[in-house]
Symmetry: C2
Subunit: 328 residues, 2 copies
């Protein structure tokens, strides 16, 4: 009996048996039989694009599950589309695989992508499969925005509210656990943080409704502080942050209170993939209403000003590392 | 004195000092200050996309020059746009660099891209820079075709002519020289083949004029025979190939005549990046006229039929390896 694992991996096999289901039978992909694809979308929309590469031992660990690597790869890309006010349309993907990868691995990888695509209705357009010593995934993701409604990092004005979706720091704490920098005994709590590290969850659903109230946005990939700087300082603005309003999970709060982790490290840590955005004050109730309706945290964490610096109200912070950088 | 080589490589430095010149100041790239870009093009056109990854020690050698790696990366992608009948518009690029790469390397790499972009009028939309043990480049390239004029691999009909641009095999022979499988004493001849391996030259200019006579096309990346199969057998057709018409360089012919290399190996070798296409017989003179006008070889190498096999007229071939595959 030939098991899945034993199948010889050829490009043709991977395409026909594992990738083809991801094109959702869209004719513009030419069933992956052509040198490329056509990008089709309604003429009243604008097309946006973003590209991110994830590399083993840099963005994920070698032995992370194929599910985690798949969802991390696609969701970190989708979060860039969200930060521009877009709805995911489709993507291309290049997978560089090494000899630790077998048929079963790619099957789990593509099955995870399939479920994510079904959930949010976007499809694979094409891509490439190559051999490499280093496992890595490059995704180019396409999104649609209404004409003239693209959100930039640079759209904020003085007195705008600063908001953040979800919670900050869970993924960073998960990474510290994996690196043995923090020890957490209770399995439930440990798993809570690890889950956030392995499966980032950008606010794919609620953000589609929040867009109309945003005038600038960024996805938090390099850390709350680093990305806040890009949103404000790079736009010749400043920010006043209400520290008590920054959304930490109750487990994170426990670690902060017990001095197991420093709040400034959490705020400089990365990989949250939540949206940090600004909005006119008049939309405050609309945003809180959506937060309630979608059962998704959206927290008012500060205010834009023209100070050209970032101040934290309610805590003296000693920020050592401005922004988390992936070793480059 | 701080030399270029000594500069610490940060993502910001690479973007601001080396990559920014590649966006040709297009506003839709947001000066690389946003999470992504907008893809803009005339509404009477259709947008096509293709994505290829090149990996060190698979698609190029570690010590190949940055110029060669840059031009190979972009041109192998552009050739996919040509095979669909497209004109290059723009591209996104992810570079995975390791610690052998310094500022000067990336400067040469981006300067080569800049010259190529200027020549063919396309620009960089955005991308990613990451650290990896393995140097690799993923490009997603966008092209435009007139509405309804996209060329597929599957458009040929019985009795169509089969044509190929440029010459076949020079790059393959260059690779054999680098692998020490062939020894060539004369520096001039050796350099001739190496140049073709290091700098593939898809027919970027003449193909824009040839498109209107093509009904199917493919770029020869996996070898003349393998790609001919995709163009004919995969379309339930067959082909009769006139071996004496296959365009070899005079140096290749010498090697074949002196039995230093086998013709079947050349035809199964890869990396030509020339266009193999089919066309109605009535366009024969138009194509030959363009070939003369652009001083670019375009050779009539065969005929499409319904035999569902590929026959070579004028030579008994013992094809061992159907198609060159990059180790997957």
């Amino acid at each position: 009996m030939i098991t899945d694992q034993k199948k010889k991996l050829t490009e043709k096999l991977i395409i026909n048996k594992l990738l083809k289901k991801l094109n959702f039978k869209k004719t513009s992909t030419y069933n992956f039989q052509n040198d490329g694809s056509k990008i089709k979308y309604p003429s009243k929309k604008e097309l946006i694009v973003s590209q991110d590469t994830l590399v083993e031992n840099v963005h994920f660990f070698k032995n992370d599950t194929p599910e985690s690597i798949a969802l991390k790869s696609i969701r970190t890309n989708l979060s860039d589309i969200l930060s521009m006010g877009g709805k995911p349309l489709s993507y291309t993907m290049s997978i560089s695989i090494n000899n630790t990868i077998d048929y079963y691995w790619i099957k789990q990888f593509t099955n995870s992508l399939y479920k994510e695509q079904k959930k949010h209705n976007f499809y694979l357009l094409g891509g490439d499969i190559v051999n490499s010593k280093t496992l890595s995934i490059t995704i180019t993701v396409f999104g649609l925005v209404k004409k003239g409604k693209l959100i930039l990092r640079s759209g904020s004005n003085n007195n705008d509210d600063i908001w953040v979706t979800g919670e900050i720091g869970n993924s960073y704490i998960g990474l510290q656990i994996l690196k043995n920098k923090i020890t957490i005994k209770k399995k439930k709590i440990k798993d809570y943080f690890l889950k956030h590290y392995f499966f980032p969850s950008p606010p794919l659903v609620i953000s589609q409704k929040l867009f109309k109230f945003m005038n600038s946005a960024i996805d938090i990939s390099d850390g709350f502080i680093g990305d806040l700087e890009k949103l404000t300082l790079n736009n010749s603005k400043g920010a006043l942050i209400y520290v008590k309003n920054i959304p930490f999970s109750k487990y994170s709060k426990e670690l902060i209170n017990n001095k197991i982790i420093k709040i400034e490290n959490i705020l400089s840590g990365g990989d949250d993939y939540q949206l940090l955005f600004t909005s006119k004050k008049i939309y405050r109730n609309k945003i809180l209403h959506l937060s309630k309706k979608f059962k998704c945290k959206v927290s008012l964490v500060g205010e834009v000003n023209n100070s050209k610096k970032i101040e934290f109200l309610g805590l003296k912070l000693n920020i050592m590392k401005k922004s988390y950088v992936h070793r480059i």
